[in-house]
Amino acid sequence: MWLDAPAAPPAPRADAPRVALDQRNLTFVPHVLVVRVGTTVDFPNNDRVFHNVFSFRDGKRFDLGMYPVGTLRRVLFDQPGLSRIFCNIHPMMAAYVMTVDSPYFARTDESGAFTIAGVPAGAYTYHAWRPGARAELSGTWSSNDGPLQIVWP
């Protein structure tokens, strides 16, 4: 979930917290990651087997090669869009990195709720996406409308 913010500062702050997409128990954790354009994501290997993380479709394209437990590789997500992440050794490992060109974004919690802090009052175009969706949902929302509710069709 994110809000368009064309007037926002162009890049993440240098002291922004590190973001990681973990490889643990033959699984990417979390399954869905949302980051801002310009964010470097860590890909640590916390399994005793090797992994070979790659993304080949749309979004950021990369192939990190193999690296053992206790080590990590990093990827700079420098363009907006959805990156589908796979492991070339374990075909059932898959995850998504949604890169958004906005500082106002969040991932839902297990109940479907989320909070975005620090959003200036005003009208926005919102976008929502979830795994399995053919396309993202978009619409307009104003801070005067109260909490935003979205129902997937």
Partner: protein, 346 residues
């Protein structure tokens, strides 16, 4: 500035799973294959793995069978990491703890696991694009076979760049060739230097059943190396040992797994290999040499297609040419105890 509370009512939501939380994943793979090497095959593998109270666990059972048009025909097709012996068998079942004290690595594993010798993980062979195990790891004359399993304990110490792995166990092999009862010892040293991963392994184990020798042990040694850059992975192993006693089996393979990002879901594989061995019955020294080219295509929906074309020479029991084709469908279901599962894969 204003704090906004937004709510999304979604049919599916992504689950955050912090490190150390409980998680369990179930996975199944179904494979069907055909080889011009006069074999048709089917296999099912089921796995359960995850974290519970800080202990990682992994369990796998497999059933597989091959139907040969000529029952006397010799072939190792569809034997990359699982036995095709028409039995439901426990492959791995272990629990482990990993500790990272001050950047070091300490791992303890107990249960049933693959022999930690060389390039040994099931995923290094079963999913790589090759439908046959390397000859030097095929159970018939291999000094260390992919169907070797250990019932015991395993310890890893070191740093991410240099680890020493030691296992003490009893053989729990699956497949047609199994080792006699007794005690195994395995030591493996592995280093990680830039694009290189290199290892050396040693195993002392009981001889295989069917050995003519009444006593003795199989002392196997091996070296392995992997190199990876820009989607190209080169691997090689050399292994030597005496699985049946007096006569030595020595073999090697070198292969390439090519998956550049521009290749999309396609992985190309190439392997050259050779095994020198002695016939158990006659003691005559023989060899088998093989060259393989293949491809694996990850189609949508958990379906993967694999095609291997191979040429072999040496042992007259093996056909000079063969084409292996297989289709695998995999499905995965992750969940946290008491929570609904995650949505489907991309």
């Amino acid at each position: 500035m204003k704090l906004l509370a937004l709510i999304v009512c979604a049919a599916c939501v992504a689950h955050v799973r912090p490190a150390g939380a409980q998680s369990i994943t179930a996975e199944a793979a179904v494979t069907g294959g055909y080889s011009t090497d006069e074999a048709t095959a089917a296999a099912v593998q089921a796995r359960l793995f995850g974290d519970v109270h800080g202990v990682r666990f992994f369990g796998e059972v497999a059933w597989a069978n091959r139907w040969l048009s000529d029952s006397d025909h010799e072939t190792d097709s569809f034997n990359a990491a699982y036995p095709y012996s028409n039995q439901v068998q426990a492959i791995e079942a272990y629990g482990e703890r990993l500790f990272r004290p001050r950047g070091q690595l300490l791992g303890l594993r107990g249960g049933r696991f693959r022999t930690p010798f060389g390039i040994y993980n099931g995923s290094d062979h079963a999913y790589s694009g090759f439908l046959r195990a390397p000859l030097v790891r095929y159970e018939e004359y291999a000094p260390v076979a992919n169907t070797f399993l250990e019932n015991g304990a395993d310890l890893v110490v070191g740093t991410p760049r240099l680890t020493v792995e030691t296992a003490i166990a009893a053989p729990g092999d699956v497949g047609e060739i199994v080792r006699r009862s007794g005690v195994d010892g395995v030591v493996r040293v592995q280093g990680y230097f830039g694009p290189f991963i290199a290892g050396a392994s040693y195993m002392t184990a009981p001889l295989a059943e069917g050995s003519l020798a009444a006593e003795g042990r199989n002392h196997a040694a091996g070296i392995d190396i992997r190199w990876m850059h820009a989607g190209v992975q080169l691997r090689g192993e050399w292994i030597s040992g005496r699985p049946f006693g007096e006569k030595k089996s020595t073999g090697w393979y070198a292969d390439a797994l090519i998956h550049r990002t521009m290749m999309g879901p396609v992985t190309a594989v190439v392997r050259v290999e050779r095994l020198d061995f002695a016939e158990r019955e006659t003691g005559s020294e023989e060899y088998l040499s093989r060259q393989t080219a293949g491809v694996r295509i990850n189609v949508a929906g958990g379906i993967a297609l694999q095609l291997n074309v191979l040429h072999q020479s040496g042992d007259a029991d093996y056909l000079p040419h063969a084409v292996d084709v297989a289709v695998t469908w995999s499905v995965r279901k992750p969940w946290k105890p008491g929570k609904p599962g995650e949505p489907g894969e991309p």
